[in-house]
Assembly symmetry: C2
Homo-oligomer: 216 residues x 2
């Protein structure tokens, strides 16, 4: 039986693939593994059955036999460790790819989420206009550092890895911010990720959930 993950029953991003199940779907597709999806409502995510799988009441979760996991980073790492295709064979290169997973989640994503949250929830506040440039600048610093690191390379460290998978999904959250336009090299890096057949399949699968839910 394939592993089962959870995803939003009703996608808050209208099928743009910015929810965290996208990372796990993409990982499954990269290693060529089938998976099942159980959709959960926002109300169900805070109920005991889901909290037993995810103490913070979020998606995605992962169930495979007697193993249950949460946190997209941990799930992608688990898939990458147990199947070929997302981590280099060389031990040092493997550790560096994992470092890039942590960098995507701990160093690059937080200022992006902070900016997104402000754009979503503080747009009508008196301080929004003054705080926005500060939040944008924090993201710009990270994009500049990332751009300098990538240079002319295709991926973060040699071949495509789980580190790139996480970084591309994190950077995609900037889509509506306009900030990727300031760094054509980063935009091209994201586009390289999105062009991978495994990304396309994962994207179409999550889009199908939104299309089905919006027609019902």
């Amino acid at each position: 039986m394939p592993a089962t993950i959870t995803a939003f029953e009703s996608s808050p991003d209208r099928g743009r693939g910015q929810a965290r199940d996208m990372r796990v779907r993409w990982a499954f597709e990269e290693v060529g593994l089938a998976y099942d999806v159980r959709l959960v409502s926002f109300a169900a995510m805070k109920q005991p059955a889901h909290l037993a799988l995810h103490p913070f009441g979020q998606i995605p979760t992962y169930e495979d036999g007697d193993l249950a996991l949460f946190e997209s980073g941990a799930i992608v790492l688990h898939i990458a460790e147990s199947h070929d295709g997302l981590l280099p064979k060389d031990a040092n290169a493997r550790s560096r790819a994992i470092a890039w997973m942590f960098a995507a989640l701990s160093t690059v994503e937080p200022p992006i989420v902070e900016l997104s949250m402000a754009m979503l929830f503080e747009r009508d506040k008196g301080w929004y206009a003054e705080r926005l440039p500060m939040l944008q600048d924090r993201v710009r610093v990270r994009l500049g550092e990332l751009s300098r690191h990538i240079g002319g390379a295709n991926w973060l460290d040699g071949a495509f890895s789980a580190g790139d998978l996480m970084m591309v999904t994190v950077l995609r959250r900037l889509a509506t911010s306009g900030l990727l336009d300031e760094h054509p090299d980063i935009a091209a890096y994201v586009a390289r990720g999105e062009a991978r057949p495994a990304f396309r399949r994962a994207f179409e699968a999550q889009l199908a959930v939104f299309v089905a839910s919006s027609q019902s």
Copy 2:
């Protein structure tokens, strides 16, 4: 030769052990591994030599032979994978411990950092008084979820693991916020971590750097 990590030459928290080298020091101590520390100034962190080790110009970094890593999560995971003492032997329990590392860094730490940043840099802003409760509430939500998960247990999932190590260091950043006082069970969990001999040794080592720098 022992591995070398980097830490702040001049500790911004005045030796309270909240910088991210503390996590790596603690991991070394838990597995009983000697390590060397190279201190770096804020200016040096943004120079090419350091950026070659850490693309985002931060600490800690890790160098061991021909392996260089950055990101405290990745370094702790690397130490935990290559030595006994921080990850369970059972494969499923091991994956769950790693999930807690990601939860500490991706789910619990971001709202804590956001609150700390506001307390440090926006205290003089007109919006500070109105935003502060919102930021505190975001942290409170996570503390409530964590408290419910821990229940009466000593650690997050069975025996002490790298997941607890990361979570305790993340929660310690709340020390001056007063929020831990609202959850005596979480405060007790943090205190259990701080009482471990390995934590004490790591704490004393980073404190010695501050004491030396403040006397020079």
